[in-house]
């Protein structure tokens, strides 16, 4: 036998065939069900105790201190109430969960309940592939609509074809709320600014005194999105931002308000209101510096609340970026934690729904508050912290929900928008791009996606 080059080519081609060629993902189309029909069904609350022996596999990313504590408590309580149910918990970090979820949910052995991040990159793609089960029937049976403000429900909604975000079927419920707001050092900020002009004036003063006006680290790239949107929330109308994130008809990025916000942010960077060399400073080192007493303001999410409270005690406060005038309604970037969703392949959707209900009901809200989390749903006043940083955070959350003031994260917009906007803001704030160029390039990546969806 002589091994020849053509022979090798044939062998390789055969190997390629055995490697499972065929249209990739082709088989999932056959299994994709008509989920709209599922969404219209009527179901009753399940008596979990009578469901027989059930093992629920749950994938979550609640791995940090308080998050992990509430999850453990609620899981234990659920299993105690229903001894016939075993919860198999798989806890992963946020990034690990996001990068492995698609493979897990599309495998034959899919978990029952998973936390699927809002927006088109994760939830949108899973819905499009028919891998998540709409929970509308359960929402009606358990009365979930009354548990959340409407924008919080919208964030977990998609049309069954995955094309429309923010409307259509409901796919899951979140436990915690989050706000990106302004933490301030009470030793240095005697009176929190009432207007944006006041905020700028105090920043200018801090700079003149040799302090860092706004602590900020953007080496990890995501922080810039929060700075930009915090400014944007006080310049653009909240509906314009929501329309863009949900990619509604006529929405655009390259519009005067978005450009104005970009100009404002770039001006602040040029004036030195942020940590020097912010693009080279990590996100964590920046807030750690703030916790050590360096800097006046910190624009960050409520996820740093526990750490800041521990280190700064009564010396730190939390407020929202003020608007142009003191009487403006509150608006801020924010949203909710990853929603717990039910996979289409789950064999126990009724038990899964009962579990989701259990970890988001008023009792769960109390557990969340007791474990230093911010419940997304209304919480019994007795469980609301009355002092310290957490009291500020709870109060702002209540205000924002009452006034419908939350705007969603821009990176939900398209599957690639996280990379686009995070890199874009780095360029904008380093004055590599003008505000007009920034808006134009964001618009062009959006258009490219919009025309192909």
């Amino acid at each position: 036998m002589r091994f020849t080059i053509p022979g090798a080519a044939v062998a390789l081609a055969l190997a390629a065939l055995t490697a499972g060629c065929g249209t990739p993902g082709g088989s999932s189309a056959d299994t994709a069900k008509n989920t709209d029909q599922e969404a219209r069904q009527t179901v009753a609350k399940t008596d979990v105790a009578k469901a027989g022996k059930v093992t629920l596999t749950v994938w979550d990313q609640e791995v940090r201190g308080g998050q992990n504590a509430q999850m453990k408590r609620l899981n234990a309580a659920f299993q105690q109430k229903y001894p016939n149910v075993t919860i198999k918990r798989v806890a992963k970090s946020f990034t690990d969960l996001n990068t492995t979820l698609k493979l897990a949910v599309s495998s034959a052995n899919a978990p029952d309940v998973v936390e699927a991040n809002q927006g088109r990159p994760i939830m949108g793609q899973l819905v499009k592939a028919g891998l998540l089960r709409p929970v509308d029937p359960y929402a009606r049976a358990y009365g979930w609509q009354n548990r959340y403000s409407s924008v919080l429900l919208d964030l977990n909604k998609f049309s069954s074809d995955g094309k429309t975000f923010g409307a259509g079927n409901l796919y899951g419920l979140s436990q915690m709320g989050e706000i990106v707001g302004v933490f301030y050092n009470k030793d240095k900020v005697k009176q929190f600014p009432q207007t944006m002009a006041d905020f700028v004036a105090q920043s200018k003063q801090a700079k003149a005194q040799g302090d860092v006006p706004i602590q900020f680290g953007n080496l990890d790239k995501f922080g810039g999105i929060h700075e930009y949107e915090t400014v944007l929330s006080r310049i653009a109308d909240k509906q314009t931002v929501r329309d863009f994130v949900f990619a509604r008809q006529g929405a655009s990025f390259d519009n005067p308000d978005f450009v104005k916000a970009a100009t404002q942010l770039q001006d602040w960077a040029k004036a030195g209101y942020f940590t020097p060399n912010f693009n080279g400073v990590g996100y964590d080192p920046a807030w750690q510096q703030f916790a050590k007493g360096k800097g006046r303001f910190l624009i960050a999410g409520t996820w740093v609340t526990a750490d800041l409270a521990k280190q700064m005690g009564e010396r730190v406060g939390f407020a929202l970026m003020p608007g142009p005038s003191a009487s403006d309604q509150p608006v801020a970037l924010g949203g909710e934690s990853l929603p717990f969703t039910i996979t289409s392949k789950s064999k126990h959707p009724d038990v899964a729904a009962a579990y989701i209900d259990f970890i988001t009901n008023p009792d769960a809200a109390k557990v969340l508050a007791e474990t230093n989390n911010l419940p997304a749903m209304p919480v019994d006043p007795s469980a609301v912290p009355s002092t310290g940083l957490s009291a500020d955070v709870f109060a702002q959350w209540k205000r924002l929900n009452a006034d419908d003031g939350l705007i969603p994260y821009l990176d939900y917009t398209t599957p690639t928008f996280y990379d686009d906007i995070s890199g874009g803001v780095q360029r904008l704030m380093a004055a590599k791009d003008t505000p007009a160029q920034f808006a134009k390039s964001m618009q062009s990546v959006y258009d490219k996606w919009n025309s192909s969806r």
């Binding site: 390789l12 912010f278 080279g280 890199g423």
Partner: protein, 307 residues
């Protein structure tokens, strides 16, 4: 095959094993070949197949032929990523080998007491996990708290202190220098080992002919290390091109896309933004480039008689 016929024509004695039929050799090869095919060839071909589709990883893909490869050439962001990888070769491969050669030249000439100790210390970066290296250098490069800027300031060179990973011009060289730090140890160990094998008589002959240290290096050490240089260059070049972990941890490809590299794009597209076909195409291109460069290095590096 070409190689076989060439060697036969040259007729070196003892080229062909006596007795046994040649084809039995394939039986001996089989176990390794099956493992190699199962874990390398088949996945590689499957990736090549996927690269012909536009596929989000979940819903049925659409056949797009070579479109994803067209993007690699025409998409300016991807072109930049490949350009960055080529620049990294300077830092990952050329610089470490150059440093290794200088050290090898010194070791070959002078007797260094306690050489094994130094060698171990210089080799240490190789032993530390890349993730740890990256986290450590991120701290060193921190513009305000980092060791590098602190040292510069303390010796009065504060003007050179900068935002190493946050500056659009410096981020890529800064990431590259981490690579230099990691890889020069390997180059040095390979090259000093090679240098110690050079017969002393060659150096003596060169010295008798009146060669100085520089002449000696170029006339004796460098030619004798040809094979080792090829090995070091191959390993480090591959490391440069497939570099992912350093970029992922230090800069996430930023600022902007100043440190974006192909391997990072593969990860990002395959696991995050649902562009599996495009990720596969970038991967296949990367394999082709690595293959071509390794071949080139080894062709040039082999001693003349073996070519």
């Amino acid at each position: 095959m070409e190689l076989v016929s060439l060697t036969l024509r040259r007729g070196h004695p003892g080229e062909r094993p006596p007795g046994e039929p040649r084809s039995i050799g394939y039986l001996y090869l089989a176990p390794a070949l099956i493992v190699f095919a199962g874990f390398v060839l088949v996945p590689l071909l499957h990736a090549a197949w996927l690269s012909l589709f536009e596929w989000d990883g979940l819903t049925p893909g659409t056949w797009v032929g070579l479109h994803n490869y067209g993007d690699v050439v025409s998409d300016p962001a991807l072109r930049r990523a490949f350009g960055h990888a080529l620049i990294l070769i300077v830092f990952y491969a050329l610089l470490p080998v150059a440093i290794g050669l200088v050290l090898a030249g010194l070791v070959a000439r002078i007797h260094v007491p306690g050489l094994p100790v130094f060698r171990t210390i210089l080799f240490l970066p190789q032993v530390v996990a890349m993730v740890v290296v990256a986290v450590m250098w991120r701290m060193i490069y921190d513009p305000d708290q980092g060791a590098l800027n602190s040292i510069l300031r303390s010796v009065g060179l504060g003007g050179l202190a900068k935002s190493w990973l946050g500056d659009f011009g410096w981020a890529l060289p800064a990431v590259g220098l981490i690579g230099t730090w990691v890889w020069y140890g390997l180059a040095m160990v390979l090259l000093t080992a090679g240098a110690q094998k050079i017969p002393q008589s060659l150096f003596d002959a060169a010295r008798v002919d009146g060669a100085g240290p520089v002449r000696e290096f170029f006339a004796v050490t460098l030619p004798a290390l040809r094979g080792e240089i090829a090995v070091a260059l191959t390993l480090t070049t591959i490391a440069a091109l497939r570099n992912f972990d350093l970029v992922y941890i230090t800069t996430q490809g930023g600022p902007g896309d100043a440190t974006s590299v192909p391997a990072f794009q593969v990860y990002d597209r395959a696991f995050k933004s649902g562009q599996v076909g495009s990720a596969a195409a970038i991967g296949v291109c990367l394999v082709a480039i690595i293959f071509a460069l390794s071949l080139l290095i080894n062709r040039t590096g082999e001693p003349r008689w073996a070519r």
